[in-house]
């Protein structure tokens, strides 16, 4: 990968679910280390976009490159890209039959071919990083939502990806737990990790993002740094959206 190449590149990407066009020719370029927040009304295609980046969704037309790799619709290229981009889900999706430590060790052992000792070391390191080292031997259901989401973040980090994708990571959390997760994410942003985050937490976006993208009806309507995005949005659709989520 050349130094000036974007770490994520979309070139007129189209996708439909049946008759419904979710992505209408998305083009974007994200530089290594950049932190981008994607927002927009539900059904605007933001989740689909982020899920395309690590191959959880396929796309119909266009071109996607991630971390210097061409992402096709074939299984091999999707798996190659998944090693570079970690994903955190709205519903955590921890493995309920495994302990926290086992959740974290599974990827390093089975996908990165590490032995048990090395996998455990890396798992404990990232568990400490999300500030719950003492929960290593618990099962997911014994943890609070905020703790579960932090485990999920650590699980992705154990793959040591260059990119982290967050798909509404705090939407399923009780309000008092949102901040503990956002704090971990903000700390991560300080480490130079490339981050893409779909969220409605505008405080977080203002604090952490380099750029905010506003999506509506399968298009990126507007992209701007936070100050300009919040103070002087250019499009009417963006102004309407901001009014709805900020005025309460």
């Amino acid at each position: 990968m050349k130094d000036d190449e974007p770490i994520i590149l979309f070139d007129s990407v189209f996708k439909s679910f049946g008759d419904f066009q979710v992505l209408k020719g998305i083009s974007l370029a994200i530089a290594p280390g950049e932190r981008v927040v994607i927002c927009g009304p539900s059904g605007s295609g933001k989740s689909t976009l982020i899920r395309c980046i690590n191959g959880l969704e396929t796309y119909d037309r266009g071109r996607i490159r991630v971390a210097g790799l061409a992402l096709g619709t074939d299984e091999a290229s999707r798996r190659a890209v998944r090693g570079k981009a970690g994903m955190v889900f709205q519903q955590f999706n921890l493995f309920p039959h495994l302990t926290v430590l086992e959740n974290l060790m599974l990827g390093p052992m089975r996908a990165r071919g590490m032995n048990r000792a090395a996998a455990e070391e890396i798992a404990r390191r990232y568990l400490a990083r999300v500030r719950i080292p003492e929960q290593a031997d618990k099962y997911p259901r014994q943890l609070s939502g905020g703790q579960q989401q932090r485990v999920a973040i650590a699980r992705s980090l154990c793959m040591e990806p260059g990119i982290m994708l967050f798909d509404e990571p705090t939407s399923a959390l009780d309000p008092e737990m949102i901040n503990e997760v956002l704090d971990v994410m903000a700390e991560l942003a300080g480490t130079g990790m490339t981050m893409l985050c779909v969220t409605h937490e505008m405080g977080f976006a203002r604090r952490v993002a380099d750029r905010i993208m506003f999506m509506d009806h399968g298009e990126i309507v507007e992209t701007a740094p936070p100050e300009r995005f919040f103070s002087a949005p250019e499009s009417q659709r963006c102004r309407d959206f901001l009014q709805k989520i900020l005025n309460h």
Partner: protein, 245 residues
Amino acid sequence: MRKALILFAVALALTGCSGSWGWYVVNPTTPNGYNNVRFLLSGLQYTILLSATAISISIVAGLLVALPGLSNNRALRWASRVYVELVRAVPILVLVLWVYYGLPQITGLTIGVFWAGVIALALSDSAFQAEIFRAGIQSIARGQYEAAYSISLNYRDTMRYVILPQAIRRILPAIGNQIVYMLKMSSLVSVIGMQELTRKANELVVTEYRPLEIYTFLVLEYLVLILIVSAGVRWLERRMRTDER
């Protein structure tokens, strides 16, 4: 359970009073009765061995049939479906007869009664196991696959470490059902001369002329076997229930 047993014992005792019983045939304190009981029990090992072998094979075969049934490939899905529908439509007794008397004519190989029984039972049960596995695997949320894929696991490891361990916990009661069912259906293999519990009882009835007592003894043999299996499955369920929400 205990109440049912007591009720059953009382019913037996009451009918026993009518004078039509002749429990001496299976009374182990008399030399003849002792020999008869030993004879009846000697079928036990075959019943257990036959059922255990058949069920082991059918669980593996069931999984191997279920997985292509869940694939994105239409031909694979269709093949799995056809197998399940065809095999499920054949009565077990017919399958036993077909495998023992029919199959050697195609293959040219003669199969012993034991393996004929195993093949017939395993084949028949594999279709049901496949449906159980399919339901179990389908009950696992999509997010579990996505999480596994997102940490770069391939399909095999996703199934092995994430999906199947959860699915198996959920389908354990259904598999327990099938084990009980197989134990009972193994009695059908007596028709081709397999020396299992039912066959032994049939043979003894011919010489002793006491069908009531001997078949009652047979009923109790199956009852005890199945109660043990049920307890085993429940123990396994408790042991595996560590974690789910």
